[in-house]
């Protein structure tokens, strides 16, 4: 019984962490049709930002929840101004350019920090479920995942900003006719997406050792989750995170971590073959 509770916690944690690492990519893809292959590096940068500020004596929560998204948001803004803004509407070119960026950022971080593992400890200890121990930090990650998704949903659904943004994405001409500058809206969206990635990177930093190539661990998972989810930012991310998180974690428990990953990849291929526009291309079509 205790074991089942631990398993359920592990599955929920897997879903939440998938949603967290995918959120930034989902916003940028869903709203702007831009696939950012440097997304993993944004997470990695968020992790470094958090670790460096903790080392500098900052409170760990401030470092993870404020500094990491801020730093990566600014980096995202710079990248949007220098690279992405010239490539809107050219989806494949954006993918290539951001793939280049991902290599470039890995290189820069390697030159600055060296290619060694760094990390910080989790600020929350474990707790007991019956005779089992579970990580308290996993609970924090679940809460953070829920909060991030809730915030995105609220912003898109209920605020004026969200309305304008959704409008501009559907018809840039119409939006600019109504007096809103679509270029500015793209810029803001990309920056916010980057900030979300930075936040996720900061929150996940205490769990894993960080190296400049850590981005590679995240990007394929996030990429697959988002694409399989389809264009709807919130429902897409939540539904595919739930599917893949459960599948991966249960396969991992029954066999090994490799098969957990392979199961996810296989599921993604089958899913895309059956639903070429992702889950939300078929179901929940009118959702955000």
């Amino acid at each position: 019984m205790d074991f089942v509770a631990v398993i359920i916690l592990e599955v929920l944690y897997a879903i939440a962490s998938l949603a967290l690492i995918s959120a930034g990519l989902a916003v940028v893809f869903g709203m702007m049709r831009v696939i950012n292959l440097a997304h993993g590096e944004f997470l990695m940068l968020g992790g470094y930002a958090a670790i460096v500020s903790v080392r500098a004596g900052l409170n760990i929560y401030v470092a993870m929840l404020v500094v990491a998204p801020l730093v990566v948001g600014i980096i995202g803004l710079i990248i949007e101004r220098c690279v992405i803004q010239f490539l809107y509407g050219r989806m494949l070119d954006t993918m290539l350019a951001t793939w280049g960026l991902s290599l470039l950022l890995t290189g820069v971080v390697t030159m600055i920090f060296g290619n060694t593992t760094t990390g910080i400890s989790t600020p929350i200890g474990g707790f007991a479920i019956g005779s089992y121990q579970a990580s308290g930090y996993n609970i924090f990650i679940m809460l953070a995942g829920i909060a991030v998704i809730a915030v995105i949903f609220t912003v898109l659904k209920t605020t004026r900003l969200g309305l304008i943004a959704r409008g501009a994405m559907q018809s840039a001409d119409m939006a600019s006719g109504l007096g809103h500058n679509p270029k500015r809206i793209y810029m803001v969206t990309f920056t916010l997406g980057a900030a979300l990635s930075g936040l996720a990177g900061g929150i996940l930093a205490p769990l894993t050792g960080l190296t400049p190539t850590s981005g590679g661990l995240y990007v394929s998972k996030a990429f697959i989750t988002v694409i399989s989810g389809g264009a709807a930012v919130v429902t897409g991310t939540v539904s595919s995170s739930a599917l893949f998180g459960t599948l991966t974690q249960l396969t991992m428990l029954l066999s090994t971590p490799v098969w957990g990953d392979v199961a996810m990849l296989f599921a993604a291929i089958v899913l895309l073959r059956l639903l070429p526009r992702g889950i939300t291309g078929r179901f929940f079509r009118r959702q955000v």
Binding site: F3, V6, T117, S135, T208, G209, T211
Partner: protein, 409 residues
Amino acid sequence: MQLDRRTFLQTAAAASALSVSGIAGRAFAADGDIKLASIHDLSGLFDIYGKSMDQAVMLAIDEINAAGGLLGKKVEQVTYDTQSQIPMYTQFGQQAALKDKVSVVHGGILSASREAIRPTLGRFKTLYFYNTQYEGGVCDRNIFCTGVTPAQSVEALMPYAIGKFGKKIYTVAADYNYGQIISKWVAYYAKQNGGEVIQTDFFPLDVADFGATIAKIQSAKPDFVMSALVGGAHMSFYRQWAASGMKAKIPMASTTLGAGNEQVVLTAAEGDGILLAYNYSKELDTPANKAFLAKWEKKFGDTKPIHELAVATYQGVLLWAAGVKKAGSIDRMKVVDALETGISIDGPAGKVTVDPKTHHCTLDVHVIEVKNQKMNVVKSLSQVAPKDTQSVCDLKANPNDITQYEIKI
């Protein structure tokens, strides 16, 4: 400008000739010196090991040259960075052997890198020193292995750990030849000491999420966990282990932690109490070690990067130099013969002696407990022989053997 076909052809030919000479340019290094190749990962995932190993080569060569060199010549180091990519070992191995014509290669970190470079250096007849603790069993006259093997590390560690913690063991290991083979040795020595491995899990080097594994370990209820995890991503195992509060419940021992100074990356709370067994610890209280630390600090300014593998490399270079002196030549077979007389040197970690039949080393082994990011010696064993490899390998009887033997259980 009229660019006709002929001038274009000429330009193209000139350009290709230029690039070719560019590639070949490094062949003209100082002649007359004895060349020693240092082939390590100086960037990429494993540079935490490689950088210090390369520095150790520099330090050893400096000392040799300061003492007048070898056979009246200076030793020159040729460094190659394999960028943590295994195929580059083949490439640079060829380059060192054929183009730069070095007398000896010191290098290789992961067992995978050794197996990539070993056939190359064998084919091109270049002497090879592999200075890393590893899974044992390599039986090849062209290679000398100066690091500890399972019969030295695991055999020392296991009785101590079983005595202290209990008999039921859960092994987690990196999924490549080192992890696969060392986990068999763990099972073997557990049995020898009355213990039992109840489960072994393998993890690819890029796995960083161990939540499910930690739950599995708990349900198996071992007395302690034996870790043979390797590299940056696997560090998260120790972190996540501590984060779920497991440290207080199930203790741990490791064959790999600390070899690249990982205990400094972990906090005291995450690392304390983990048992290890190595040839070297910075905490060794001997004059030889103190002198070594002082030399290192003088040359590089900081003794932090020193670790087991760096010291093994330093000792490896000294062994080679002793062999050359004894042979009075840099001819490959003469040096091998000289080393096979059972040559010894005194290194920072004590006396190191070449075992003639296996080309491995007899050396001191220490059981170590991590405490406050330091590796404190809790028990010392003097001059332990590489019994694992000795049981399968006899190069005196079979000089043409090039097999890596694995233990059968």
